[in-house]
């Protein structure tokens, strides 16, 4: 078996994994166009952060902070990050459940979870409620700078004169 311990040790490996999870979660949160996928990405970013916290208390030759787990007199890893991460995991599932409830509500009212479609429907609803006209594409194309005003049609020649023969 190749000696992997000479190249990389456990802490660096888990460290790269934790930061990778946070980066993947942040990327997914910023790039996704669907609210449910944003929720999944948020959960992944939370998991990465918890892993980083537990890693900060790890010591290579130590054992778990339970009396009787390892040999008597062995040193133990830091118990404090473990307590905090225990709390954080349970709070994470509470937050996910609350987000699911809100997503169900949004879906019930608007019928879609795609972010761009949702924005259009919300604008439609707000404009209707305020009595304003909905912007059509010639006057205000969605998301881009408005087109220059269309000049009135002006023929290059005058009105057609009757022929004088």
């Amino acid at each position: 078996m190749i000696e992997l311990d000479a190249v990389i040790n456990l802490e660096t490996l888990v460290y790269v994994g934790a930061i990778g999870l946070v980066a993947i979660g942040a990327l997914g949160l910023a790039l996704s166009n669907h609210l449910f996928r944003m929720l999944l990405a948020l959960g992944i970013a939370e998991s990465g952060a918890n892993l980083l916290l537990i890693l900060s208390g790890y010591r290579p030759d130590a054992t778990a902070p339970i009396i009787g787990y390892g040999p008597v007199g062995a040193s133990m890893v830091d118990p404090l990050p473990q307590v905090l991460v225990l709390t954080a995991i349970v709070i994470g599932v509470g937050v996910q459940a609350m987000a699911v409830a809100m997503l169900v509500r949004v879906f019930r009212v608007y019928g879609t979870l795609d972010v761009r479609e949702l924005r259009k429907r919300m604008e439609l609803e707000v404009s209707t409620a305020a009595g304003m006209p909905v912007p059509t594409s010639e006057q205000a194309p969605a998301g881009e700078r408005p087109l220059p005003p269309v000049p009135a049609y002006r023929p290059s020649y005058g009105p057609i004169q009757p022929r004088e023969s």
Binding site: A26, R59, I66, A101
Partner: protein, 229 residues
């Protein structure tokens, strides 16, 4: 444009975390508070599981805060989802595997959950883990047969009583010892089931509260209808 900005953001975040972590003493943490807890948790509280001892003993107030957060999330989710109409259609019952599996798993999960809650101060476990397993046990039964709903009134009563008993134990400690949630009732012999003072009582309170809360939350989500009619 948005993709490039997102990639830059994620790259910057990763770089920031890498730079901060390079200064982290990976593999040799300076356990200033942790070492103190490790030294005195055994003799002072009599609990073998030091994580539970910190969770319910030294940092009991943080646990109370977490219970409040869970309560707020479950209540808010229930409020947002609203009630179901009485005649709305329910999900069809689960297939054969789910029904047979639920019949087999329900007693096992309940026993494992109670074991983990009760032995929280001796072996890895505690209130949160056991509470989650108890919630899963009750919810598997609901998933297999959705017409058999959970009794929301009973769940609310159990949750309220468990939370109130947690606070009452803390107030009793305040009256007796001068500090909220101070450990009481002596330590007993380490390794016995009835040891470590009020720690098992607090674990049971946490387990019941978390379990009933999560079961009620999942029942709320599964009770909502698919569309507003």
């Amino acid at each position: 444009m948005r993709s490039i900005a997102s990639l830059l953001f994620a790259g910057g975040l990763a770089f920031l975390l890498l730079a901060l972590g390079a200064q982290l003493a990976l593999g040799d943490p300076a356990m200033r508070v942790g070492a103190e807890y490790l030294r005195i948790a055994g003799p002072e509280l009599g609990a073998a599981n030091i994580v539970t001892a910190i969770l319910a003993g030294y940092r009991g107030l943080d646990t109370l805060g977490e219970l409040s957060i869970l309560f707020a999330a479950a209540t808010a989710a229930g409020l947002v989802l609203g009630r179901r109409r009485a005649d709305a259609p329910r999900d069809p019952p689960g297939g054969l595997i789910l029904r047979a599996g639920a019949d087999l798993l329900f007693p096992l999960l309940v026993v494992v959950g109670i074991y983990i809650v009760a032995h929280g101060h001796l072996t890895p476990g505690g209130g949160f883990q056991g509470g989650v397993i108890l919630a899963a046990a009750f919810f598997v039964a609901v998933l297999a047969d959705p017409s058999r709903t959970l009794n929301h009134a009973a769940i609310s009563w159990i949750e309220g009583l468990a939370g109130a008993s947690f606070i009452l134990i803390g107030i009793w400690a305040l009256v007796e010892d001068g500090h909220f949630l101070a450990p009481l009732l002596g330590t007993g012999t380490m390794g016995q089931l009835l040891s470590a003072g009020t720690l098992p009582l607090l674990s049971v309170a946490i387990g019941l509260k978390v379990g009933s809360e999560l079961a009620g939350l999942m029942a709320d989500i599964s009770d909502t209808e698919a569309r507003d009619q």
